[in-house]
């Protein structure tokens, strides 16, 4: 998937708090292993995301076991920046489950200590 070309992604329910954000171009970056979500709307929202397993190995498989994701689904988490010095964080509480074959996806909201809102990913030493 991460070496694939751009694909269209429809989130029929939008993102949490952004129900209008429904249509994206999903652009994998083979160099970084990250994924860009680029809104097709003129005033849309763009994101950088990471595959969940890159942040927490094995957690994607847990979502599959729980029935929250299909075996072939891609699970992405949105990246943000917090703190001073700045640290990149991943939103594990709101992963986006993508069916690459269908070009569709949905954002989940997950409770529990294993799904923090701001999982530290990297930052200055």
């Amino acid at each position: 998937m991460l070496n694939s070309p751009d694909m269209m992604l429809t989130l029929s329910l939008g993102l949490v708090g952004l129900p209008e954000a429904t249509e994206f171009i999903l652009r994998p970056d083979a160099d970084s292993g990250l994924v860009e979500l680029i809104s097709t709307a003129a005033d849309g929202f763009d994101f950088i995301a990471s595959p969940l397993n890159r942040v927490r190995p094995g957690l994607r498989e847990r979502l599959v076991t729980q029935g929250d994701a299909g075996p072939s689904d891609l699970v992405l988490v949105l990246l943000a920046v917090h703190g001073e010095p700045a640290v990149v964080t991943a939103n594990l509480a709101g992963p986006i489950v993508v069916d690459p074959a269908a070009g569709t996806g949905r954002q989940l909201v997950l409770e529990g200590d294993d799904f923090p809102l701001r999982a530290a990913l990297s930052g200055p030493d």
Binding site: G17, S32, D46, L79, V88, G94, L108, L117, A119, P124
Partner: protein, 83 residues
């Protein structure tokens, strides 16, 4: 909004498949038990709000994320997990 009064141990039913029980009341906290099918997701309202805020922050911070993680930047990326 429907407002109902319940006592400890009493139950509310929502639709055919969701049951909400008042387990106990501790001061200003109510402990609820929820029985629902796995297809019904139950989350705290404040968590949904927090995820929503984080989504907006992720959009606002896209360029900064890229700067911090870009392997082609002057500073080498640090992708080791901290938390």
């Amino acid at each position: 909004m429907l407002v109902l009064t319940r006592r400890t141990g009493q139950v509310l039913r929502i639709g055919d498949s969701v049951e909400l029980r008042v387990v106990r009341i501790e001061g200003d906290r109510v402990v609820l038990g929820i029985a629902a099918p796995t297809s019904v997701r139950v989350v705290r309202g404040e968590l949904v709000e927090a995820v929503s805020e984080e989504v907006r922050r992720a959009a606002d911070m896209r360029s900064k994320v890229r700067d911090l993680l870009d392997p082609r930047a002057d500073q080498p990326p640090r992708l080791g997990l901290q938390g």
